[in-house]
């Protein structure tokens, strides 16, 4: 190794000795690393407080939270589109919340608590399912 390379390695490692501890400190300072508390439970607790109701049918399982809706689409539907709408007081569809595609878990943010949800095919103009909270 030339003297230039030796110097470069030396300064790189002196720099790493400063940078790496800073990265480690910043990344663990907000974590409750050395506590005996169960971190997983404590992080889930706030979610439980916001949870209002869970309802389901053959197609959907919906969990209603203060600011969001978690939707589990149990099977992929034979509809070209499946839009999730808020359910109005009169049973009609209100504002669109989101869209479902394949079977899976979906999360939608909401501003107001709806009375329920309608899953609607906008192309065929068919109501797929309706759930009331």
């Amino acid at each position: 190794m030339t003297s230039g390379l030796r110097k470069a390695h030396k300064y790189i490692w002196l720099l790493l000795i400063i940078i790496v501890p800073v990265i480690i400190f910043l990344s663990i300072k907000d974590l409750n690393v050395f506590s005996s508390d169960n971190n997983t439970v404590s992080s889930i607790e706030p979610s439980k407080k916001n949870h209002l109701k869970t309802i389901e049918n053959d197609i959907l399982k919906i969990a209603l939270y203060k600011n969001s809706i978690d939707a589990i689409l149990k099977k992929t539907l034979k509809h070209p589109t499946s839009i999730v709408y808020e359910l109005n007081n009169d049973g009609s569809k209100g504002n669109a919340i989101g869209q479902l595609t394949t079977a899976g878990i979906y999360k939608f943010n909401i501003n107001n608590l709806p009375k329920g949800i309608i899953l609607y095919d906008d192309l065929k103009h068919v109501e797929i399912t309706k759930l009331q909270f």
Partner: protein, 342 residues
């Protein structure tokens, strides 16, 4: 040393070394899987693969980083240094499996391009607990890919040793990215003092060896020699072992003074292949042989024996009362200098 480029210049040592690497990797993966299934039986296969290969790559990277200084401190580690590139490519394969499975599990099942998804699915760069750590891992994997794919001697010869070395020093950037990837990623979900401890201990060991070696080398570089009519005093002739060299520093650059067959010759200490310390090698079949990868040079002219073309600078020596003196002015690379007889 070979004239034509082959994928790997196999010899029995390399084969043994690669078998040890492959078996150790396999053993680690099996052990990791067994321990995981005992203590956390609900872990999915994908998660198991991601964690097993990710942790394996990190352990291997630490070993790779510590081989250099270990070989400087103890020549017993030179055989590991000789095959370090094989370990590096194996480490990249482990990192690639980790990255590949992660990209597939977290980004490939949607309607967005998986690579685009890595950079856009989480843009919370201001948060430390929710930092998009996968971006850091992806960039590190990219660097490791560049290094692994250019590790062959073909690229070393065609990119020039200087460019190749600079390219491969990017491993330090990859190392920082990987540390940040781990601490801002996995540890945010599973805050275990044990795993954090292992990473910190790994860093402390690697950094300590590098710093100790760096200061030891600086001491040698800064050594001042006594001068006599522009000739620098090196040492008594009895201080140099037969077929070995004494390394001497002239203005921060090192020179290797070899003693062989009743003669003395001096050449620049840095091998043209990967910068190996020629003075720590020995004379084999009349040629100075680099301890790192076996590149050879003739002592009298610093040239690799034909048909090879590598050459290093040579120096003039003289002997006064069994004391060796060197002319600090280097000759052009490959210049023939009459050996000093004793």
């Amino acid at each position: 040393m070979g004239l034509d480029y082959q994928l790997v210049l196999w010899n029995k040592h390399k084969k043994r070394y690669d078998k040890i690497i492959a078996l150790t990797m396999l053993l680690y993966i099996i052990l990791f899987a067994v321990v995981t299934l005992i203590f956390n039986s609900e872990t999915s296969i994908e998660t198991l693969v991601i964690r097993a290969f990710g942790s394996l790559a990190i352990i291997m990277l630490h070993i790779i980083l510590v081989i250099g200084p270990l070989a400087r401190l103890n020549t017993g580690f030179l055989p590991i240094l000789y095959n370090r590139r094989h370990l590096g490519v194996s480490m990249f394969i482990a990192a690639f499996i980790h990255g590949g499975f992660s990209i597939f599990q977290f980004h490939a099942l949607g309607d967005t391009n998986p690579i685009y998804s890595i950079f856009t699915s989480n843009m919370d760069y201001t948060s430390l607990t929710n930092f998009p750590f996968q971006v850091l891992g992806f960039l590190a994997l990219l660097i490791l890919f560049i290094m692994a794919s250019t590790s062959h001697d073909f690229f070393l010869a065609n990119l020039s040793a200087k460019t190749w070395k600079r390219l491969h020093m990017m491993v330090y950037i990859a190392y920082i990215l990987i540390i940040a990837h781990v601490f801002l990623g996995a540890f945010q979900q599973e805050t275990s003092p044990f795993t954090i401890g292992i990473m910190i201990v790994g860093f402390v060991i690697v950094a300590s060896f590098h710093v100790i070696t760096a200061f030891k080398e600086s001491k040698i570089d800064n050594a001042k020699a006594k001068s006599k009519n522009n000739w620098l005093k090196v040492c008594g002739i009895s201080e140099i072992e037969e077929d070995r060299a004494k390394i001497f520093t002239i203005e921060n650059e090192r020179v290797a003074i070899f003693k062989y067959d009743g003669k003395l010759s001096a050449i620049h200490n840095v091998c043209k292949h990967q910068g190996g310390p020629l003075g720590e090698g020995k004379i084999i079949d009349g040629c100075i042989t680099c301890p790192w990868h076996g590149y050879q040079y003739l002592p009298a002219n610093g040239q690799s024996p034909p048909p090879f073309t590598e050459k290093v600078a040579t120096y003039e020596l003289k002997l006064i009362d069994k004391t060796v003196y060197i002319n600090p002015k280097a000759f052009e690379e490959g210049t023939e200098v009459k050996p000093c007889n004793y």
